[in-house]
Every structure is written in structure tokens, then in C-alpha cells.
């Protein structure tokens, strides 16, 4: 791979790069092997008894049991249910916010701006606690509504930016046809803004899916709580590590797939960033640079 940052390597640079590469691989693999050996080594507990290493078969045999997988599946389903319901409401809340923020009347615009800043600046966890304690709803709805409001605020800003980025003629032609402002918004502006902002919205839904794990803290039986608390209590604490590991793997697979979808959509329909001329992408670090730039300046760059 070549890059503007360095010349195409000559024989010496290639050799040096190869040597550093090999040393690097040895160091990284060595570190991983040390970690795995450390995990696998049996340990002597303070009371003198010996506990088997974390990779010992006796810590993983529960996964042969279909019952355990059924329970894990229930936890996964609970996570997906929360993410799905919250996603639908987040988009609705987002549309409402984009209306409020671009309203003509100042009496609508200002309060919705203040509200939006409030929701964006507050931790989701605090919002979940607030809804849980003040409205007294069950943890599922506390988590779902907090996630919907928080992510809705961000989606709303994205939609507003999308509408603002449209050429003014789009709106004007709708009005000239005699459509009301509301119909212009729904028939002409929203469809285009949605399409433009789809990568951001999907990236935000990845954040939403990740954040459902916060519901663990308020006792909603989602994937993390099901595995590390309910199942671990049932089968014994020595399976805690293995159960956590499986939950982690499931989260990773889900999020990586969704992130991949977001990237795919961004490549196909997203705003073309960094294009200065035909076929001269300003990429400093390889072919995925533009995409990465687009991505990190948008939704998935926000670790929240």
C-alpha cells in the first residue's frame, strides 16, 4: 500500500519495514500468548484450594447444555427488543425535534433548542434513573424511553442538518405547487434528508444498540445481566468469566455487522466527502481514508 505520507518503499525500506513488521507481530502474538497462558494457568486460592484455569474445560462445559443457550437467547432477545423499540421511537422523536428546531415561531424554536441541548448534555444513565424513579415505570420502559429521547435528539439534529443542506428550490417548488408547509416537509424534504443522513442514522443506531447494555445497571434482564448475573447465579460463579466472554462475543458480532452496514450505506449514498476533483480522492492513509473521515466526523465517531 502506498500513501502520500511516504514514498513507495525501495528495497531497503521494504526490508526494514518487513523486519519491524515481524518484530511487531512477534511482540503482539507474544503478548496474546502470555495473556492466554496467564488465563489458562490454575490458581491457588487464599484458602489453599486450587482453582482450575479460566480456559479449563470445567469452566466451559455448560455451553454443551442447550438450556444455557436458550437462556442466553432470551437475554439477547431482550436486548434486541429494547434496541428495536427504542430505535423506532428515536426516529419519531428525531422528526419531532427537527420540526421544533426549524419552526418559524420563536416560541417553539427556543424551547426545543434548550430541551435538545439538555438531553444531549446529560448522561443516558442519569436519564434512565430519572424516568425509573420519577415516572415509576418498569426498567424496560425507563431504558427504552431514555435511549429514544437521547438518540432522538441526535437524529433530530442530523435530520435538521440534512434539510438545511437541501437546495432551497426543493422547498420553494413544493410551496409553489400549493402544498402546505407540512406536506412539503413530509413529501419533499424529509425523504431527501433521510436518504442523505441514512449513514448517520444507522451509525447512531449502533450507539443505541451498544447503550442498551446500560439497562443492566437498572436491573433489566438484557444480555449482560442475563449471562453474568442470572445464569452465573444458577450455574455457579466459576462460569462467570466464560459467560462474560460469550456475551462480549455476541455484542461484538452484532455491532460489527451493524457498523459494517452503516459503512456500506455510507459508501453508497452518503455525502461524498473529501472529493476535490474527479478520481483524485484526498486520501492520506489508504483507500478507506475518505470513508473513515466521513464516518468519524459523523455519528459513529461519538463514543456515547
Amino acid at each position: 500500500m502506498t500513501s502520500v505520507l511516504y514514498d513507495a518503499p525501495g528495497p531497503r525500506a521494504r526490508r526494514r519495514s518487513l523486519i519491524i513488521s515481524i518484530v511487531g507481530v512477534i511482540a503482539i502474538v507474544g503478548g496474546l500468548v502470555a495473556l492466554v497462558m496467564g488465563l489458562a494457568a490454575p490458581r491457588v486460592l487464599p484458602n489453599g484450594a486450587e482453582s482450575p484455569g479460566l480456559l479449563d474445560g470445567s469452566r466451559w462445559d455448560i455451553f454443551l447444555d442447550v438450556q444455557i443457550w436458550r437462556l442466553i437467547g432470551e437475554g439477547l432477545l431482550a436486548t434486541l427488543r429494547m434496541a428495536g423499540v427504542a430505535a423506532v421511537f428515536a426516529i419519531i422523536v428525531g422528526i419531532l425535534f427537527s420540526f421544533g428546531r426549524s419552526a418559524n415561531s420563536r416560541w417553539i424554536r427556543l424551547p426545543s433548542t434548550v430541551l435538545l441541548e439538555f438531553f444531549r448534555g446529560m448522561p443516558v444513565l442519569l436519564m434512565i434513573l430519572f424516568i425509573l424513579l420519577v415516572l415509576g415505570v418498569e426498567p424496560f420502559w425507563a431504558g427504552t424511553s431514555a435511549l429514544a429521547i437521547y438518540n432522538g435528539a441526535i437524529i433530530g439534529e442530523a435530520l435538521r442538518a440534512g434539510i438545511q443542506a437541501l437546495p432551497a428550490g426543493q422547498r420553494e417548488s413544493g410551496l409553489a405547487l400549493g402544498l402546505t408547509r407540512l406536506r412539503t416537509r413530509f413529501i419533499i424534504e424529509f425523504p431527501q434528508a433521510f436518504r442523505q443522513m441514512l449513514p448517520i442514522i444507522i451509525a447512531q443506531l449502533v450507539v443505541l444498540l451498544k447503550d442498551t447494555a446500560l439497562a443492566y445497571i437498572v436491573g433489566y434482564p438484557e444480555l449482560l445481566r442475563t449471562t453474568t448475573t442470572y445464569i452465573a447465579n444458577y450455574v455457579g460463579n466459576r462460569y462467570m468469566f466464560s459467560l462474560f466472554f460469550v456475551a462480549l462475543a455476541i455484542y461484538l458480532v452484532m455491532n460489527l455487522i451493524l457498523s459494517w452496514v452503516a459503512r456500506f450505506v455510507a459508501r453508497r449514498s452518503g455525502p461524498k466527502l473529501g472529493k476535490t476533483g474527479p478520481e483524485t480522492p484526498t486520501v492520506l492513509d489508504g483507500p478507506d481514508g475518505v470513508k473513515a473521515a466521513a464516518e468519524s466526523s459523523w455519528g459513529s465517531g461519538h463514543p456515547n
Binding site: 511516504y6 444513565l125 447494555a213 466526523s297
Partner: protein, 215 residues
Amino acid sequence: MDAIVQFLPEFGEAFLVTLSLLAFAGLGALVIGAVIAAMRISPVASFRAFATAYTELFRNIPLTLTLFFCASVLPYLQFNPGYYPLALIGLTAYTSPFVAEALRSGINGVAVGQAEAARSIGLPFGQVLTLVVMPQAFRMVIPPLINVFIALTKNTSVAGAFFVVEIFAVARTAANERGDAVIPILLAAAVLYLVITIPLGFTAGRIEKKLAVLR
């Protein structure tokens, strides 16, 4: 109102704990993120692969799981320096890939001609990066970096659920103790977070506007 006064000392200390979490985890994430970003654009293939894997993995693990790992699994593996350092490790690990991505997007934003000019006068990769590209990139990434730190501020609340006594933890215990004053207590906690996040966001906006004029 009396409930807030009653818990004022606790809230004061918790605010400082949140600030220190933000400062230390932010600094740690900045250092690790810069290293990862440099590895990701380096000519050495194994570094690039490692940095990519690191970013993809840590970005896609929910923060709750990262902190759960630090607060429960690490002590279980007989590594237990206390909940505060463990939370710092978790928050740093979680935030660093986002810092790395922000830095990388800044490097991508530097005009290609800059790097080409630096190379054409014979500078090697290290100097192209540290003398020409990085200083320009850093200026551009200040707003996105501030956004990362805003997110980090909000994320410190999750540490409160794992036995670190910061704003969220104090709000939760206070609300449990004074069931009659839940709303003012939680609003006070929200205000404490907003005191950090809103000025940060405002600064990011100002810097962004300033740079937009310059470019």
C-alpha cells in the same frame, strides 16, 4: 431544596471525582489514541493491522461491558488496584479508539499538497508526520476531540454504577435516601454534568467557526 443542601458536600466531592475521571481518562486516551493513530498510518503493515483491530474491537464493545470487565473480571483474575483505577483503565480503553479515529480524520483533512511538498524536499515519514502534517491536523481535530471528551464526561456516569463515588452514584444513593425529593436531586446531578458538557460544547462550536473562517 433542603435535600440538595443536605447532600451538598457529597455532591461537591462527587463533582471533583467526575472531573478527575475526565482529566485522567482523557489524558490516557489522548496518549494511547495518538499512538494508535500513528500506528494506523505507519508504513509498517503489522502495526497498521494491530491498530485497525484495536480500534474496531474497542469501539464496538459497550462501555458497560468494558467497565464490567474492569470492575468484576479483572479482580476475579487477581488484578485489583481498587475501583477508581479500574474505572480509569476501562474509560481510557473505551475512549482511546475514538480519539485515534478523530486524529486520523484530521490527518485525512490536511491538504495532500502539504504532505507532497514535505516529501519532495526529502523529509522521511517521521518528519512529514511530526513537522508538517500533525501540527495542521491537530488544529483541525480540536472540535471533534472536544466532542469525544464531552462523551467521556457523560460516560463517567457508568463508572458510578461500578462502585466509584461520582455524581451518578451520589445522585442514586441520595434519591434512595430522600424518596420525597427525587426530582430536585436528579436535576441537581444533571446540572452538574451540564456545567461540564455545555461549556465544552460551546468551546468546540467557537473553535469550529473560527477554523471555518480561516480555511
